[in-house]
Amino acid sequence: MNLEQQFQARIDQEIKVEPRDWMPEEYRQMNIRQIAQHAHSEIVGMLPEGNWITRAPSLRRKVALLAKVQDEGGHGLYLYSAAETLGISREELIDQLHEGKAKYSSIFNYPALTWADIGAIGWLVDGAAIMNQVSLTRTSYGPYARAMVRICKEESFHQRQGYEILLTLCRGTQEQKAMAQDSLNRWWWPALMMFGPNDDQSTHTEKSMNWKLKRKKNDELRQQFVDVTVPQAEYLGITVPDPDLKWNEERGHYDFGEINWDEFWQVVKGNGPCNKKRMNDRIKAHEEGAWVREAAMAYAEKRQQRKLQQAS
């Protein structure tokens, strides 16, 4: 067996790949791409929600949202660290994002217009993310799998707090319930798009599945998400904006309508409602924080010098 065959054999036996193990260059690159995209999504995902922290309707909602956004920052860090074990630096990762060479989840290019959107984001966006992340706790690259375990443990509160927000609105006034319905109308389809293109359109799926980088295909995860989410919408008493949505007794799954893939690709290519704003905000934060990073380093070096002088 050559090195690549030996590598595949270990993957097939469910032996995790660790940072210093031999791996095909393509496996390394695909992993970096996937983990980085995931990390960037966590960081960019802080923006639409961060916008609502100062406007949360109560202290209870405010501390929860603050904690959630802080978690997303932490998740970005776990993932960047996992990517860095593959030999790429943090600086390179961040530069790739800011130069538009790396992608992040398209969902964050939609605006959070109302308070109900914060509920919908937690329920649908985090719900869809969890679906994907739970399957990734079994991914073949050790550091990525470990980051996923930690993230999944923390994410479940995110989804519950989102659902609770919508539940409260749906039990409120007519206007509040309408606001909840409006948020479902706007977030449902983008949430389904989060799972990516259909399997027959997805370029990396086969290799990714063989190397167990991905454990479930896009369409399987999307179906799973629809199946668990529709009854939750029914409980809220609001309507999923899909006339073709119907329980299929034979399949034991919901049938649902065709996704607007033109919209999906438009947003991926940078033409979504908030692509430019998100990138500008990220770059601004990074550039305006540069002096803090430099000052902290200079201070640490100065203290180290002083310590050495005292010792001599």
Partner: protein, 94 residues
């Protein structure tokens, strides 16, 4: 040269009586900041009572390619395990 702060490995003791266990890594300008950041990212939900940080470049790791020669010899030394020794059932507390 990279403008990144140095990389640190973080070890957390989840409660007294247990040893510190690797939790992950992070960037920080110095050890003190590494502890503060580790507290913020790795112990937000009571995961720890104590933190160790060590700069990643100070860790020496065994080479995975030498794993066979390092660890395989232990496999054929079954006499290091208590079950290797045959004792009659009547003998107790041993």
């Amino acid at each position: 040269m990279s403008k990144d702060w140095p990389l640190w490995e973080v070890f957390i003791r989840s409660k007294n009586g247990l040893s510190h266990k690797h939790a992950g890594s992070l960037h920080a300008a110095d050890a003190e900041m590494a502890i503060e950041n580790a507290r913020d990212v790795y112990t937000r939900r009571n995961e720890g009572v104590s933190i160790w940080v060590v700069e990643s470049r100070h860790i020496t790791a065994s080479n995975p390619e030498e794993a066979e020669s390092l660890f395989d010899p232990a496999k054929d030394k079954v006499y290091r395990h208590p079950t290797f020794y045959d004792l009659p059932d009547e003998v107790t507390h041993i």
